[in-house]
Symmetry: C2
Subunit: 353 residues, 2 copies
């Protein structure tokens, strides 16, 4: 697989000046409700119709991938949890005991865990996709998080995750989640580099660090940004300097999904950072992205703004794993059904306003 | 049935000073996630545990009732739609073609329509519960919307709807929706009377009226408030002056559900006005209420503030019917499953922060 070929396949969806957009809008506007009264659900329905090039968008199967990886930056004391929690949580996902497992069972979403770079040797088992690049990134305060080759490899492997799963059993909607102690630090650095905002404006408290740790986290990102001198126009270089093998995996998944016209539901700060790098590699990717949940991490807002995406849910989550994606996928599914199942004024014999 | 007896049965749920509250909190805090990281879902899970007096709250069955009624106030040109749309939409609900039908099918929620006062003779049919008080309220700019006896009757009938359905097939969560052209005017008047806020602060554009209609709507409510002189400490009197038979039905449902410790999911402006009257009749009702969706109607915010309820969803809906309730019920169900199915740090062998 080659990321250039995949990117070439990504085409924008029609905008509101196109006939097909107007056709979809007309169909929604003739349904038995005041125009626009289903708010964001109507916007989602339109986007799904445009993506599937259909007046009757449909979701038969939903799938969610949790990309996991370890982070050298944890050496700098940026997290409230020890790094060993990354493999422990991967095992928890595989055993079905984490919040994301509960939500995916509840919403009828198939789930897989992708080892992109966890510092642990997992035995081969159902639900685990082995795509390890390396056992954790380097400490990006001291050197680049990964080599350019590794960054590219992580993206390719994310594409493979999509393609292999899709061929095995197709799905019309894919959610992304992640696990990686230290990865809010990585994501905030990525978003600062991409947006030009200071770390103060992109950094939150992750899993819940205290004031001293929080100041340290900002300072670590500040110094790293100066030291690494990323080419801020290059998503690949930003990933190299500050990633996240799991973030690279998410980048690849977003690109591969967009190339196949399958929409991706982002979750919180980290998956949004992945979506942002994919967007920098091909701006049309954003047409296939949904922001599942508003993070309380401030960096997410900046990244979403750059892509002009509005979060579907705002439940105060700061867990990651794909928890916000999973619940938002239910609403996207409902939006498709509005297009397919809801009666028009004429069909129902209801007078128009 | 007697509303006094029902109200007597409503007891508050334990607050955070109680042992059982602390027990629930401990259970959540030991689950494999940073404390509080599931935000509102954790608050919902706690509330469901307190309501069901269980560390393992469960929802086997969900039910939603659409209360329908006509409004004399439509004579004053307050709505973008003609009054005949109320019965037309009831028939649309019964045929399964409305947005709320799509959402209820999607979420596995049983649905019934209650005729509380529609200006139409429906034939008896499955899914329709006949509880008509009168064929529409009086124009409350000219006289009280209903008599005190009718107000009481509408509440009793709402209680009967709950009790009869519950006995027939029990459910652990109930959503409310409504249909009634003109009923945002009724609801805004109710909320102004109850909160003391001016109509400007409680009135929106309903199904989408223009500036002139909107100014007229505010003025109609203003004059009605002065003319009707409601006893603003009496929910029953406010209902009498400005209701809504369908709003009376919602009041009764909220009271009966709270008496049986079954939580109610409110929807937009109108159902929230119903919840508010129930709250005025028994403040403990609020312990059994969830605000399903933030309405773009400003009056809802004032009513929710009075009850200290935060909306679960904010998707820009302004449709009613129970559409916001239905989607929120999915999240309440998910929250219960977090309590039951999610592993603790110890069970999963995950290190704590």
């Amino acid at each position: 697989m080659n990321s250039f070929d995949v990117i070439q396949k990504i085409k924008p969806i029609p905008d509101s000046s196109h006939d097909f957009y107007q056709k979809i809008l007309r169909k929604i506007d003739l349904k038995t409700k005041p125009k626009g009264s289903l708010g964001m659900v109507e916007e989602i329905a339109i986007k799904m119709g445009l993506i599937q090039e259909s007046l009757n968008p449909v979701i038969h199967n939903k799938r969610l991938f949790i990309f996991a990886g370890d982070h050298g930056i944890t050496e700098e004391g940026v997290s409230a949890y020890p790094a060993e929690v990354t493999p422990q949580m991967v095992l928890n996902f595989l055993a079905g005991g984490a919040a994301i497992n509960v939500f995916c069972r509840h919403e009828g979403i198939g789930i897989d865990v992708v080892d992109m770079g966890v510092n642990y040797d997992f035995s081969s088992q159902p639900g685990l996709i082995q795509k390890k690049v390396r056992k954790g990134t380097s400490n990006f305060l001291k050197k680049d998080a990964m080599s350019a080759e590794e960054a590219n490899e992580s993206i390719i492997k994310g594409m493979e995750v999509f393609e292999e799963s899709y061929h095995n059993s197709p799905f019309e909607l894919v959610g992304v989640g992640e696990m990686g102690i230290g990865n809010t630090t990585s994501a905030s650095a990525i978003i600062s580099a991409a947006t030009g905002l200071s770390p103060k404006e992109t950094t939150g408290r992750g899993t819940g660090i205290n004031d001293i740790c929080y100041q340290n986290k900002i300072e670590v990102i500040n110094r790293s940004l100066r030291l690494r001198k990323a080419n801020t126009n290059s998503g690949l270089d930003i990933l190299t300097k500050f990633g996240g093998f799991e973030i690279g995996g998410i980048v690849g998944l977003c690109l591969a999904a967009a190339a196949r016209r399958v929409p991706v539901v982002l979750d919180g700060l980290i998956s949004t950072a992945g979506g942002l790098i994919a967007y920098m590699m091909s701006m049309d990717v954003k047409d296939y992205l949904f922001a599942g949940h508003k993070s309380i991490e401030i960096g997410q807002k900046a990244a979403l703004k750059m892509m002009n995406l509005q979060p579907i849910l705002d439940l105060g989550f700061r867990l990651g794993e794909g928890t916000g994606s999973a619940l938002a996928m239910n609403i996207i599914d409902a939006a498709c059904k509005i297009m397919r199942e809801m009666a028009s004024f004429e069909e129902a014999g209801v007078s128009q306003g």
